[in-house]
């Protein structure tokens, strides 16, 4: 070959395509090859060379593998856009799949599988059938993967033609590469199917364990990951599996090591002998530590996994804390993870060493890391009672350095230490008070105020200290205001003298009359009433003994932990989220483009509810098949939500108060979507609503049947906004004649439907007694208007100017009336349409407003109307033209509903 490939990138004068066409049809082989290379080069830089399709395909019939591969590369890229022409290539493919050269056979099958054109798929079946039984292992392993490709295009075809059975036969193949690919293909097919397809029996188990020793490192990972789904029958089998897997811990490939660790951890659950378990723990430690000698990227993954492992089995690495000490040149993401593990491994035995390290980190340059180190010291103090004093003295030393953010962070953790060990370390309060005026972060300020209020009787000048904060009360963030309020009440109850009395008056006044924060207002009113009706009761409530806290801030819930441990060495264990939370791909066999809703729903539900009850692990069966984790609702209804006032009153950390507990909403009746006549007595009404920046599906069930209905589940079809349920539907069994209403949290962008945007939301609901009900709802786009949609005047103007004119659209809403500018502005603001400016144009008012939907798509709005006269003109500019129609729908409904809605939403937020 002559010259450099990069020369193909240089453009030749004008008329490149005709020139290439000519060269492709040249009689000289070399010239043709060069031409194809040029075409590929153009393709990779994004030029459209699809018009050369026929000419390139003509070069396909060649014995030259290099040229053949290039043509195939081209085909894969353009077949989808030229399905009719792609048929031209079929004959050559079929011929190639019978070529004496195994490389050509494999290449043909591999490439055909990548061409996602229905018509070609039909022709693929016969060659694939042959290649699955080919003599050459290279062809067989390629064919195995091809079955997975075909399943992705047309699942039915794969099942009808018996490819699944052929694939299962390949597990017994004598070539380990073929076994590994067959396992990978079966695992993928299983993931996208709800029927059991790939079940490991004790027979396949031994086959896989044998292949494990011989196949490539990648194959080993496929096999190990499949094995991790296998549930051993008893302890003996578990020990046997572990014994066969343990040598993998010595592998140089970290993925193999981590997958082996996963299996060992899972099987260990079954092993009863403590000796064996101890021995295994001992064996796992060195390889886990060795992972930290790998590249920093792998270290990060290893550390995230180790974080989970030490929560479950702290003994494994109990003696290895030193390896988690940060190196100065570790990337910040590695340092942060190491710190987390150091806290988890800290014990009375090693705390001195650990504290020395933390102290060192707390004087480094990176602010985030320093903060985390200071917090780590505090968390160790809370965790280890005997070391608390040493931790505090380190914190005090750090405070003395007087680096602002270190001091603030230290005060935050000291507040927690006071909570953990009441009446023990108050002697240090004086030192803390010295730094009072340097505090400027809300959390630090709030912590300090909490300390002053809590120990008001021991601080001589507590009233002066608090008073200094009160001057700026209206400007403080809510967090600080709430603490100030509680601290002042405490002070007053402890020292009911004149000074505090005046302070409490001022604070209560500020917090009730002059604030629009409902939390603050409510809390102030309660205090006020308590103080005015029964001061002794107020004392009992406000100064009550607080429960002792423990350090569980970074401890995972045990069921989640088990879920994550079953997912060791996967993305899930890196994010510390269950797979359902981020895997959105729903792979039902797509029936071309006219995907029927019923199909999606059916696959989603075919998982029978009984499966959920008999305790099948959700990670192994559910979750992968559908994007909505359809779970049985907890049998007894959750206790009725109590107003969470007590927590607030006790001056606890605000963050502890659960905020996202779905409460039973009340409010005006919802639109009926499934009338009881259609639903055999069951009536369903629902509506999408936005609360506190989150979208909920407000849904209500009316049981008009004669039986108890239970086991309610819900699923949403793909839609423009990708709305899907963000949790299980919580409906307790419904007695005849009763109704239930719930707020289902929703997540967006989970199952997006392609195509033109539409507000259609198709919903399927089922219960254990009735057939599946389907109904349609409308997605009000304003539910997506974010709280962050407010734009500054200048940025609005800039954005308006920067968008081209053909991004501007306008529409008349003839039946809408603006009865008062202020009311309209307020009403729209409640739906996150924010007012920016207004001007008068003859007798009409022009309002400029902005709104934003997720993914940062802004809407710049201009409303023109005459007050009191029907007819509003709405003009909008947005970078995303497709959404305009939906936007107008939303605006029209917002402007139509008028004040009825306003009051409703005000009630909700109050």
């Amino acid at each position: 070959m002559s010259g450099h490939d990069s020369k193909y990138f240089s453009t030749t004068k004008k008329g490149e395509i005709p020139e290439l066409k000519e060269e492709l049809n040249s009689q000289y082989k070399d010239k043709r090859k060069d031409a194809v290379k040029k075409v590929i080069a153009a393709m990779t830089v994004g030029k459209d060379v699809s018009s050369l399709f026929t000419d390139v395909v003509n070069c396909m019939q060649t014995e030259n593998l290099e040229l053949k591969k290039l043509v195939y590369l081209y085909l894969i890229n353009y077949a989808k856009s030229q399905p009719d022409l792609a048929i031209l290539a079929v004959n050559t493919f079929v011929k190639d799949s019978q070529d004496p050269n195994p490389l050509i056979r494999a290449l043909a099958v591999r490439t055909m599988g990548c061409i996602r054109v229905d018509k070609i798929t039909e022709y693929l079946c016969d060659p694939l059938q042959r290649c699955l039984k080919d003599d050459d292992p290279y062809v067989r392993k390629t064919a195995a993967i091809c079955v997975a490709k075909l399943y992705d295009i047309n699942a039915e075809l794969v099942e009808d033609r018996g490819f699944l059975e052929a694939l299962k036969d390949l597990i017994s193949d004598n070539n380990p590469m073929v076994v590994a690919n067959a396992v990978a293909a079966l695992a993928e097919i299983q993931d996208s199917s709800t029927r059991p397809i790939f079940e490991i029996t004790s027979h396949t188990l031994s086959k896989l364990l044998t292949a494990l020793n011989e196949c490539t490192e990648w194959g080993q990972v496929f096999i190990l990951d499949s094995l991790s789904r296998y549930k051993a029958a008893d302890a003996r089998e578990a020990e046997n599996i572990v014994e066969r897997v343990t040598p993998r811990l010595q592998h140089a490939n970290c993925a193999v090591v981590l997958s082996a660790v996963k299996i060992i951890l899972l099987q260990m659950e079954l092993i009863t002998s403590t000796d064996v378990v101890r021995n295994l723990c001992k064996k796992m430690a060195p390889p886990l530590v060795t992972l930290l000698s790998a590249e920093p990227e792998i270290q990060y993954v290893a550390l995230r996994n180790i974080n989970l492992i030490v929560q479950k089995r702290p003994t494994i690495l109990a003696h290895e804390i030193k390896v988690f000490f940060c190196k100065y040149n570790d990337p910040i993401y590695v340092k942060m993870e190491k710190l987390e593990i150091m806290i988890k491994l800290a014990s009375d035995r090693n705390i001195d060493q650990v504290l020395l390290e933390f102290k060192e980190y707390a004087t480094e340059v990176d602010v985030d890391f320093v903060r985390k180190a200071v917090r780590a010291i505090g968390r160790c103090a809370i965790k280890l009672e005997r070391a608390a004093e040493r931790c505090i003295s380190v914190l005090l030393e750090l405070i003395k350095i007087k680096v602002n953010y270190v001091v603030q962070e230290a005060i935050i953790v000291i507040k927690d230490i006071f909570r953990r060990y009441p009446n023990t370390y108050e002697s240090i309060i004086a030192t803390l008070c010295e730094s009072l005026d340097t505090l400027d972060e809300p959390e630090a300020k709030a912590s300090m105020i909490w300390i002053i209020g809590e120990y008001a009787e021991r601080i001589d000048n507590a009233d002066e200290l608090l008073e200094s904060f009160l001057e700026t009360f209206p400007e403080e963030p809510a967090l600080v205001q709430l603490q100030l309020l509680t601290a002042t009440v405490k002070l007053f109850l402890k020292k009911p003298t004149e000074g505090p009395q005046q302070m409490i008056q001022a604070v209560l006044n500020n917090a009730t009359v002059e604030t629009d924060n409902p939390d603050l207002r409510d809390r102030a009113y309660i205090y006020w009433r308590l103080l005015s009706t029964d001061p002794e009761a107020a004392k009992d409530v406000v100064l009550a003994e607080k429960p002792v806290i423990s350090d569980d801030s970074n401890q995972l819930d045990s069921s989640l932990l088990d879920d994550l441990l079953a997912n060791i060495s996967t993305l899930s264990s890196v994010y510390h989220k269950p797979p359902e939370a981020f895997v959105s791909r729903v792979k039902t066999a797509p029936r071309a483009d006219d995907e029927e809703f019923a199909d999606t729903a059916e696959t989603g539900y075919s998982e029978s509810p009984s499966q959920g009850v008999d305790g099948a692990s959700p990670s192994s069966s559910a979750g992968t098949s559908s994007n909505v984790p359809v779970k049985q609702p907890a049998a007894p209804a959750a206790p009725a939500p109590m107003p969470d006032l007590l927590g607030d009153l006790m001056g606890m950390d605000n963050s502890i108060v659960p905020v996202d507990e779905p409460t039973a909403p009340s409010g005006p009746p919802l639109p009926v979507l499934l009338p009881s006549t259609t639903g055999q007595g069951l009536q369903i009404s629902a509506q999408l609503v936005r609360r506190d920046g989150q979208i909920f599906y407000d849904i209500s069930f009316d049981n008009g049947t004669q039986t108890v209905l239970d086991g309610f589940m819900i699923q949403f079809n793909k839609n423009t906004f990708g709305l899907a349920a963000g949790g299980a539907l919580q409906v307790s069994p419904l007695q005849p004649g009763t109704s239930a209403r719930t707020l289902l949290p929703m997540v967006a962008f989970q199952n997006l439907s392609p195509g033109a945007p539409s507000s259609l939301l198709q919903v399927a609901v089922k219960n254990n007694q009735q057939p599946v009900w389907y109904f349609n709802d409308k997605i009000p786009m304003h539910a997506f208007f974010g709280e962050d949609g407010k734009m500054e005047r200048t940025s609005f103007l800039e954005a308006w100017k920067s968008l081209p004119d053909d991004n501007e659209f306008s529409k008349e809403f003839p039946s809408s009336v603006v009865s008062s500018i202020d009311a309209t502005v307020e009403h729209l603001a409640a739906s996150n349409v924010f007012f920016i400016a207004k001007r008068k144009n003859s007798n009409k008012d022009v309002l400029y407003m902005s709104a934003k939907i997720p993914r940062g798509i802004p809407f710049l709005i201009e409303l023109t109307a005459a007050v009191g006269v029907p007819g509003v003109k709405c003009a909008v500019k947005t970078p995303n033209k497709e959404m305009v129609a939906l936007f107008f729908e939303a605006m029209e409904s917002l402007l139509k509903f008028g004040c009825g809605v306003v009051s409703q939403e005000l009630i909700d937020s109050a």
Binding site: L73, A184, T216, W218, T363, F582
Partner: protein, 405 residues
Amino acid sequence: MISQFFVLSQRGDHIVFRDYRGEVPKGSAEIFFRKVKFWNDDEAEEAPPVFNVDGVNYIHVKVAGLFFVVTTMVNVSPSLLLELLQRIARVTKDYLGVLNEDSLRKNFILVYELLDEVIDFGYPQTTSTEVLKSYIFNEPIMVDAGRLPPLGPAAMFMQGTKRMPGTAVTKSVVATEPGGKKREEIFVDIIERISVTFSSSGYILTSEIDGTIQMKSYLTGNPEIRLALNEDLSIGRTGSSSYDYRSSSGGGAVILDDCNFHESVHLDSFDIDRTLHLIPPDGEFAVMNYRITQEFKPPFRVTALIEEAGPSRAEVLLKIRADFSANVTANTIVVQMPVPSYTMRASFELEAGAIVGGSEHTLRAKLTFSQESHGNLTKEAGPVNMNFTIPMYNTSKLQFSVIQD
């Protein structure tokens, strides 16, 4: 499995882009690049190697200043993907001799051919240069290695990977020599990364060796090779705690905390005579990785002193003493010491040259600052980082001899 694989330059240009499953929405490379560049709106903070944006998982490593990235939509093993990315980089380097934007662009067709064999439908197939040779038909086009700055030992650990120094680095495993004949060569190196923390009084606080036996084979016919290590080598500390080192200084035996091996290595007789049997595949690979926390004598003692010499001046005194015997010499030494960010000028005197065992060298530097220091000079300067090569010497005393049958 893997949806896409791509290589981006530091500026975010596509160098290689291959979509294996067509399920990730367009623009993923741009989304990735923006996210990495402005992690947390802060250019200083480095993005973690694994993250999720709008349901697409991005996994990346940085090799030779390039981003190697894969995307996936499912819950796969990220360590597998990270290992794979490193391996793709290594295979490409085996083929192209040098790995950089230029060589990738010149060889894009070869690179695509490689990618088709390495990954099928998102599943890694093989990353062994040896195996790939039978499926790859394009010949690499060599970039002139002379134009490139030599990859000195200083650059060795910069990317976090253990690279082999010396001449072998820039030679393709598959390309034939210009003369037409192939030289029968095999390079075996021991590369050790030593991390030692000294207390201010000079005591060793922590010490650790991460070592690799690195091999790059240009042998034809794939003969079996035996690699004999120290006979008294033992694996696994007998004590259960890292605090009790036993009295290891005794007979000079090498104790590895842990080690692992390349898959081509047969360990049949390893337990008996500490010999590794292997048929080295073509290309560069790590025969064995090991880790030592046993006490050892660091080859250098480095003392750094930084003192204020006026409101906006400071003096640095850096002493290096070579603690090895006088008959070996360390060369290509690079000593790095970060100075405070507000340093305007530094002037220093230097004794240049290689360092002979037993000798001591001093560097004096004067720093001028643009602002007054905050009295925390020692924190903002350092720590000192040193890279060096000492031929025929290694700290762990691990040795090997190659026996070819």
